[in-house]
């Protein structure tokens, strides 16, 4: 499997999966004492119902009041396709170790690597060992490694090789015997989408996709989920022909981030923000994901895809959904996805796309003190490429809460620095009882959810400048909880992998959400494809002039990040 390097090292994906009804036991939820009072992690707590009623009732040692006991996955095997890719080495294998280190993997948990290399179990174990040593967030502990390494296996073969998959099926059966994994398998396809059909068909042919009634089979896929609506549907047809939607987990690693889940806590556990979270008070919303890196070695993937498909379609639209949605009746997968879908269905593009979108690509320039080359000079990029590395889009949500409030989404590579944030910018005070000079430099209030790298929340408001004169200017107040201090805090992939193994789907986008976001993006891509090459912007700056003009037409400016 030489080709299966990680599909998308930088922009990673989106995920989502099953309906609530098909998680192992349903989610009636044990609302007994105290569940509702946990405000700081309302979202986390609510989604932590993976160990189901039936299991708890049958297990005398589990008690819903016993909040110390972590959610631990049941006995299972994770089969990893694409073990030699960047994503596996930098994120997945370390995350598996970290889960083991935190005691969240079941006894007997086994990991099977599948690749073309002529390897033995111990070679794959060595690769895992090195990846863990280099990238794991928790300290390396010999006893944890021992536990993990006993369950590491390797299966050699090509995706087209029936024999290899027969061997895999046998191997899994044997692991069930020797490790007590009970026929529960997760298949992680960390391979480019073009290999999905053959891998999925092989899983079907060998009966691996369909387990006995008392065991589960799940498949995890990474973005990109197609490059437009049609291809997304085709891709889905391939997986859904073999796996039910409830067994398909689409990874959008952004949704595993603590701050992103905190959006739900912030909005729905407080009474302070929700009353002003609407068109009556909000002027507009800016959602930004800026990267300082170029395309690196991803030319083959990136060219023809571009910034909008790579980032806006998944990460930014998911963030928009969380910020814009109505309150879900619960944090179960069903209710959460229903609200996200509603807001995605209400998305509208402005009539004239030439005035409401902007795109650009980086030219040569200076980025953070280093000279860097332009996009078309990158290796593997054709000189006549019209792929954008910067995209800005204005959308509106056609519902009572948000009518007339624009949501500006922007993303780009080789921008000034790496930052992802959601900024809710409020209207100016209706009346200022100060003289005009006193408030000359007063901007608009803003509530900013910082997603990365410095996770937290910032509130921007006007404050009096100390002194005898009454002069008001903007100040920022920052809040950061654990995440930003703790190097060993859980990584997004840890959370998501655990959710897959437990079968807890709220943080994974449903196929319907994927399709809805393509419906928004497709007309834009179509329009852009007729516009020739994108406008160039010097690397290390904040995008093309047309993006600033787009805001200026609305009388607004991008936040300076």
């Amino acid at each position: 499997m030489s080709k299966d390097s990680s599909p998308a090292p930088a922009g990673e994906g989106k995920k989502d999966s099953a309906d609530a009804s098909d998680r192992q036991g349903g989610n009636k939820g044990h609302k007994s004492p105290g569940k509702g009072t946990d405000t700081t992690t309302a979202a986390t707590a609510a989604s932590s119902v993976g160990i189901t009623d039936a299991v708890i009732e049958a297990n005398p040692l589990r008690d819903p009041r016993d909040k110390r006991l972590p959610r631990v996955a049941g006995p299972c095997v994770l089969v990893l396709f694409g073990v030699t890719g960047d994503l596996a080495r930098k994120k997945l294998l370390p995350a598996i170790y970290d889960l083991a280190n935190r005691g969240l993997l079941p006894p007997g948990f086994s990991l099977v690597g599948f690749a073309r290399r002529d390897w033995k179990d111990q070679d794959f174990a060595q690769l895992t060992h090195d990846a863990v040593k280099e990238h794991a967030r928790t300290p390396f502990r010999e006893e944890v490694w021992k536990q993990l390494s006993e369950g590491i296996f390797f299966c050699r073969g090509e995706f087209t090789d029936d024999g290899a998959f027969d061997a895999l099926a046998m191997m899994l059966k044997e692991i069930d015997q020797t490790r007590g994994t009970g026929g529960n398998y997760g298949f992680y396809l960390s391979v480019p989408p073009k290999f999905f059909p053959v891998v999925v068909q092989q899983l079907k042919r060998t009966d691996l996709a369909d387990g006995p009634d008392d065991a589960w089979r799940r498949v995890v896929i990474e973005k990109p989920f197609g490059h437009d609506l049609k291809s997304a549907q085709e891709l889905n047809a391939i997986t859904s022909a073999v796996f039910p939607e409830s067994s398909v987990f689409r990874i959008d690693h952004y949704l595993g981030k603590e701050t992103v889940q905190n959006i739900l806590a912030l909005r729905f556990a407080n009474n302070l923000f929700e009353p002003i979270w609407n068109r009556g008070y909000v002027d507009h919303v800016q959602i930004t994901m800026a990267e300082d890196i170029g395309i690196g070695g991803r030319a083959g993937y990136y060219d023809g895809i571009g910034a909008a498909r790579d980032v806006i379609q998944n990460h930014l639209i998911q963030l928009l959904a969380l910020v814009g949605m109505e309150d879900p009746t619960s944090f179960g997968a069903d209710s959460l996805r229903r609200e996200k879908e509603k807001v995605l269905k209400a998305l509208r593009l402005p009539a004239d796309l030439s005035l409401a979108t902007a795109r650009g690509r980086y030219g040569p320039g200076w980025q953070g003190g280093e000279p860097v080359i332009g996009y078309t000079e990158e290796e593997g990029i054709p000189p006549d490429s019209i792929t954008e590395t910067y995209a800005a889009v204005k959308v509106e949500i056609a519902n009572r809460r948000w009518a007339g409030v624009p949501f500006y989404l922007r993303t780009g590579k080789r921008l000034g620095r790496r930052v992802t944030e959601v900024a809710v910018v409020f209207q100016r005070a209706p009346h200022l009882p100060f003289s005009k000079d006193d408030t000359e430099i007063l901007g608009q209030n803003a509530l900013v959810i910082r997603v990365q790298p410095d996770e937290g929340i910032t509130v921007r408001f006007g404050s009096k400048v100390p002194g005898t004169a009454m002069e008001v200017r903007d100040v920022s107040m920052d809040f950061a909880y654990g995440e930003s201090f703790m190097e060993s805090s859980p990584e997004a992939y840890e959370r998501l992998l655990l959710d897959v193994l437990i079968g807890d789907p709220p943080l994974f986008p449903h196929q319907r959400e994927v399709e809805l976001s393509w419906k928004i993006l497709d007309p834009i891509e179509e329009f852009w494809s007729s516009q020739g090459p994108p406008e160039e912007y010097p690397a290390g700056t904040w995008g093309p002039a047309s993006a600033d003009e787009m805001m200026a037409r609305d009388g607004r400016v991008w936040r300076r990040l």
């Binding site: 297990n59 110390r68 006991l69 005691g103 006894p107 007997g108 021992k146």
Partner: protein, 303 residues
Amino acid sequence: MTSFMLSGTTASKISSQLTHLRHQMGTPAVGMVLTLVVVCGESEQYDAVRAATEAAREHPSRILVVISRDANEPNRLDAEIRFGESTPGEVILLRLYGELTRHADSVVSPLLLTDTPVVAWWPGECPDVPSKDPIGMLAQRRIIDARSANDTVKAIVGRARGYVPGDTDLAWTRLTTWRSLLAAAFDQPVGKVKRGSVEAVPGHASALLLAAWLSDRLGASVKVSDSEGPGLTAVKLSAADGDIVITRADGHLATLSRPGQPDRRVALTRRPTSELLAEELRRLDPDEVYEAAIQRLAKTGRS
């Protein structure tokens, strides 16, 4: 890290010094989420502060360390303020002399962060009824450590008598990994448990609590028997379908045996105090399962 000493001071001087230092460092905003009051002796101070500052990386806190010195000296309050690189919050060591040793609350209460939770922790000796202690009364959560008691059974039984919601014990926190593994072993049915035993070094507080929890949840008698250690070494439960056994001989790697399944090894390391403390600070609501376990132990321990 900045360290600042104040001798013969008062709470209000400490407070203004704190404000002053914060302004000087240019970080006037306070992002701390709770106040942790550590009550300990001089000899325990170093380890306790270390653990508390580690835990503060997960829960940014103001850490007040109350150290009682010689009660026969004239009344005096010495303070040592530390903040800066090593911790996201602040550490204030308070050394109390003379009669002041009996009025520590008068120093602590003006230094608590406004309107955020207060947690009290006694890493060593603790009052008989923590919730009646002047410092304990300031706190929503009171953490003690039965391990440090001479007679652990008596200590825990005493705890049960004076229990109020919010009391908790690091000897109980140490068990979370064991309990989690045991609970996972019961996720697949094993039938009714008839009897069981917990093996540990003599007088091991956590072993007593584990046995009490198991017998409470399983409705079976679970004995504690002595072993060479280190710490907890085994849990054996005889169920209708066979035996569930967890053994841990070296304090690091355990073996889990279940009927009908191969033996499996599981990492089960004894956790450092900082991790235990961080777990305590994660949940500030009453721990009813702990209460049930100590009440159970009180019932059987007395008889």
